[in-house]
């Protein structure tokens, strides 16, 4: 068995916050050599300006180079190609552009706004169940995880009855404390799961995203691409928003005046969601990039073929981005946070995530105006070893 990799400094947290060393590094060097969770050397980029420069330049910072995982991944070239197929985050333009453009019309602001009544209904139903069963309750399995899971299932066309299977597969694959061999096996299992869904949709394409991809792009997409892109949508569609809902609720519980504003003032909700996205930065860094040429970044010269980790959490806490960046302040209003990334890989589902959060947070707080933690803060279960930060549990009462 391979030893569980330790979480490197730049991915560690203390409660909501990145560790102090990350702020020191951003202030002093800006760009510095680090070691990835798999023991590979990489360059960590921490300042907002440099992070934007990396993420907006796919020609020099490529997503499409296989990260050399050495003995950790004994996969044939054919297997690696299958794993990459349809994975938008592992592609550069123009291949990336071709696939992303098939999905762009599905995630416009207008299309997502049409989902509002259904999202409200889903949120209300989960709140009804909580209210009926009475306090205390764990908001992770009762609120934060099921709402985005059900939404993405309906949107994509995956039966919600399969949720236990894909939620477990996803959560464990992204957990660094799970041995790499198991995570690889879970990756294969996830793809087998999605192959079943694609086969079902091919036989009878529904009025959902899988059905749309098969009907409108069936000729241009290989089977592996269709499986890959659907799997990415399913994973990204529930794991990210679920953790924002859990951790975001905890953040508001720790800031009662700001919680009250989100509860009582509809105009406060949208800016609050943007600030929570910035402050929590649940995706600590973008997918590792590989330099295609020698580059100079923050005064450092980085050779061609080097790995670059763009720290979204460091950039979002950069004093050059916002004043007093470590303070949660939902009144900051619109600002250029990097929680959804930047450049051509900017989160495709951002409008959906925003819609889910702007619906769910105020609905929860209005239904249970006296919502409070049911355990001391120290006993709340964070997920310190996850690639996507969040909570294992959030026991509350009302």
């Amino acid at each position: 068995m391979t030893q569980t990799p330790a979480m490197p400094m730049h991915m560690q947290r203390t409660g909501f916050d990145p560790v102090a060393e990350l702020a020191r590094l951003r202030g002093d060097e800006g760009v510095a050599p680090v070691v990835t969770p798999f023991g590979l050397p990489a360059w960590l980029v921490t300042r907002a300006e440099d992070v934007r420069a990396v993420l907006s330049d796919p020609a020099r910072f490529s997503n499409a180079t296989d990260v050399p995982l050495g003995d950790l991944l004994e996969l044939s070239a054919e297997e690696m190609a299958r794993r990459r197929a349809g994975q938008l985050l592992g592609l550069d333009p123009p291949e990336h552009t071709r696939l992303r453009r098939m999905l762009t019309p599905e995630f416009t602001v207008r299309r997502i706004r049409r989902l509002a009544p259904r999202i409200e209904e889903i949120v209300d139903r989960h709140l009804d169940d909580l209210e009926r069963d009475g306090p205390p309750a764990d908001l992770v399995p009762r609120f934060a995880l099921p709402i985005p899971s059900l939404v993405i299932c309906e949107l994509l066309g995956v039966p919600y009855s399969e949720r236990d299977r894909f939620q477990r597969l996803t959560a464990r694959q992204l957990d660094l404390s799970v041995p790499i061999e198991e995570r690889l096996r879970l990756g294969l299992e996830s793809r087998a799961f999605m192959e079943e869904q694609v086969a079902r949709a091919r036989a009878e394409p529904g009025d959902d995203m899988l059905g749309m991809l098969i009907r409108e792009h069936g000729d241009e997409l290989t089977h592996d691409e269709l499986v890959g892109v659907s799997l990415l949508l399913l994973i990204a569609g529930h794991e990210t928003t679920a953790n924002m809902l859990g951790l975001g609720t905890l953040a508001l519980l720790c800031h009662p005046a700001q919680l009250a504003a989100v509860r009582d003032d509809p105009a406060a909700v949208e800016p609050a969601v943007e600030e929570l996205l910035r402050w929590l930065s649940i995706v600590p860094q973008g997918i590792l990039r590989t330099t295609t040429t020698e580059v100079t970044l923050g005064g450092r010269t980085i050779p061609a073929g080097a790995l670059v980790a763009a720290s979204l959490v460091a950039a979002n806490r950069d004093p050059a981005l916002v004043e007093d960046p470590d303070r949660l302040d939902i009144t900051r209003g619109a600002l250029g946070h990097l929680a959804f990334g930047h450049g051509v890989h900017h989160c495709l589902g951002a409008p959906l995530a925003r819609m889910e959060m702007t619906t769910a947070f105020p609905a929860l707080l209005r239904r249970f105006p006296r919502l409070t933690l049911a355990v001391p803060f120290e006993e709340v279960g964070f997920r310190p070893h996850h690639f996507i930060y969040g909570l294992r549990s959030l026991p509350v009462t009302w």
Binding site: S56, T108, R110, F340
Partner: protein, 65 residues
């Protein structure tokens, strides 16, 4: 103030639609940016400037008068 949008570069993030909905929209077929007006009302200059600066793909620019 005038603004220009490059649909070849646009990735359809929708950020500009949130920031300045009277100036930017997305079409239904491709989901890419559509300018509702090229001439920006002085009252919208702030949000439009933000949208240009924050556009993830760099598809927007302010055209000098």
């Amino acid at each position: 103030m005038r603004v220009a949008a490059d649909r070849e570069v646009c990735i359809g993030s929708g950020n500009c639609v949130y920031l300045a909905p009277t100036v930017f929209d997305q079409d239904d077929d491709e989901g890419l940016v559509v300018l509702l007006t090229a001439e920006v009302d002085p009252g919208d200059a702030g949000p439009v400037g933000d949208a240009v600066a924050r556009c993830p793909s760099g598809a927007l620019r302010v055209v000098p008068d």
